[in-house]
């Protein structure tokens, strides 16, 4: 059940142009900011939007010429779209019924699926009597009951509150592992993507900007969006030896040696702030101006202007000591050993 697809869709001045593949049993997360084209890609795979160009192959079958009802793809929609006039049981039995399974048998299968997602005692309820987490599980059971060749999930956890989300995410992870076909998961929540997916595909503005497993992407972001997602300062520059020259002529000293076009990244916690120019070991030192101060967990996140824009994390005590407020001028330093560089 290998998916390989090339999806091109034009809508006004927005163009979606991505290649997407998934192996059997693999969970691929499509991650990106709002309006990047994630849902559009999902709808195209499901057959709800026609392709302008490209093709979709699943397991050697050409999907893009089939109607949605012939594709055998299970979809969990963002707001689930459970049929409000049917019970949970009949919602789940809908898929098998459409594939010609007799009513009694379809209901029996549906019963089994609902038991599997832990809702055996809620089969007679209508969707509006179910909680958000329960509705999500019914939607998943309904998508799986049709024995799909591929599973598509559109923001499956977005409609849930934080607590339910945690439980549901863990359960969803289990069901996805048990599912033998490819799964495409659309989300804008990096945590969902990191916890549920084997591989991440990051989309910005209708294009794939980075793909890789969670470890690679969190360690080596390649765009500002991804860097912000994983909480790193990211720059692009030209390396020669252990010095990287950034646009604007600023030099950063790194631990490892590289050459050519590289990305440089370091975490906000690696930035140290001083009221006056410090002496000693840090090789990267520059004057900076505080532009904003905000809370970030237990620390304060300071956005600084200067030769390079940078985010720094400091403790509240240090912030008081330094008198941090917008407009304050101070010195920022980063140890060379904290600065990682990798090829662009």
């Amino acid at each position: 059940m290998t998916l390989s697809s090339s999806i091109k869709i034009k809508r006004g001045d927005f163009t979606l142009d991505i290649e997407l593949t998934a192996a059997p049993g693999e969970v691929v997360a499509l991650l990106g900011p709002n309006g990047a084209g994630k849902t559009t890609a999902l709808r195209a795979l499901a057959g709800l939007l026609p392709l302008d160009d490209g093709r979709i192959d699943l397991d050697g079958i050409r999907l893009d010429q089939l109607a949605p009802e012939q594709r055998r793809i299970g979809v969990v929609f963002q707001d689930y779209l459970l049929f409000p006039h049917l019970t949970a049981l009949d919602n789940v039995a809908f898929g098998p019924r459409c594939h010609g399974v007799p009513r009694a048998e379809a209901r029996q299968q549906a019963q089994g699926w609902l038991a599997r997602v832990g809702l055996a005692e809620h089969v007679r309820k209508k969707p509006r009597q179910l909680s958000g987490g329960q509705a999500q599980r019914v939607a998943l059971a309904r998508a799986l009951a049709g024995e799909p060749r591929m599973l598509l999930l559109d923001e499956p956890l977005a409609a849930l509150d934080a607590r339910t989300r945690l439980d549901t995410r863990a359960q969803l992870r289990g069901h996805l592992t048990a599912f033998g076909g490819a799964t495409i998961l659309v989300t804008h929540d990096p945590l969902d993507a990191l916890m549920l997916a084997d591989r991440l595909v990051i989309i910005e503005d209708g294009r794939v900007v980075q793909t890789g497993d969670a470890a690679t992407i969190t360690a080596q972001p390649r765009t500002d969006y991804v860097a912000r997602l994983v909480g790193l300062n990211l720059y692009r520059g030209h390396a020669s030896g252990s010095t990287v020259r950034l646009p604007g002529g600023f030099d950063l000293v790194t631990a490892a040696e590289e050459s050519g076009e590289v990305f440089v990244a370091f975490p906000p916690s690696a930035v140290a702030l001083y009221p006056s120019r410090p002496d000693g070991s840090p090789r990267n030192t520059w004057p900076a101006t505080v532009s904003t101060v905000s809370r970030q967990g237990d620390a304060l996140r300071i956005e600084l202007g200067g030769p390079i824009p940078v985010a720094a994390d400091v403790t509240p005590a240090a912030a008081v000591h330094l008198g941090l407020e917008p407009g304050r001028e101070l010195w920022a330093t980063v140890k060379a050993t904290e600065v990682r560089s990798y090829r662009a």
Binding site: G47, L48, A67, E69, Q70, V75, F83, H85, G95
Partner: protein, 199 residues
Amino acid sequence: MVCLILGVPLAWVLARTDFPGRRLVRALVTVPLVLPPVVGGVALLLVFGRRGLVGGWLDQNFGVSLPFTTAGVVVAEAFVAMPFLVIAVEGALRGADARYEEAAATLGATRWTAFRRVTLPLIAPGVAAGAVLCWARALGEFGATITFAGNFPGRTQTMPLAVYLALEQDVDAAIVLSLVLLAVSVGILAALRDKWVAA
């Protein structure tokens, strides 16, 4: 019945598809609302009459003639009453979320199955309300029926026609018929209103 069979699909076409000339079709559908029923009857005679556009062809090929028959009554009343149904159902369809049909399609439902098992139940209140309005209009229909189907007792005489005739000969009978008609109408509308129209 005729209205339901013709009207619901027509409403679906109007609400869910977008084809050139859709505005024209919608205008044609609603014309009987505006037209005086007698004019509607005349129009039907011109089209379906023995020498009419369609009527002549029907007569020659099938020996079927609609005017002044029971079937003619049905056609006349459907013509006048159907807009009520089409408008109500189209409104209900536009209000219903088309994404449910998409969800059904991803589960393997053909368009027809999705319509029958998902959309129709969702818009049932709208269809029922439209049917009641449509039926109510048909019950009181007078002008188009008398023009197109005439007034033959036992064949094409409807209640309002009977009342009109009775009024000229036997006022008491007219009053009795009118009261029966009134009672039936109020009874059925009251019974249905709570169940469907208010829903």
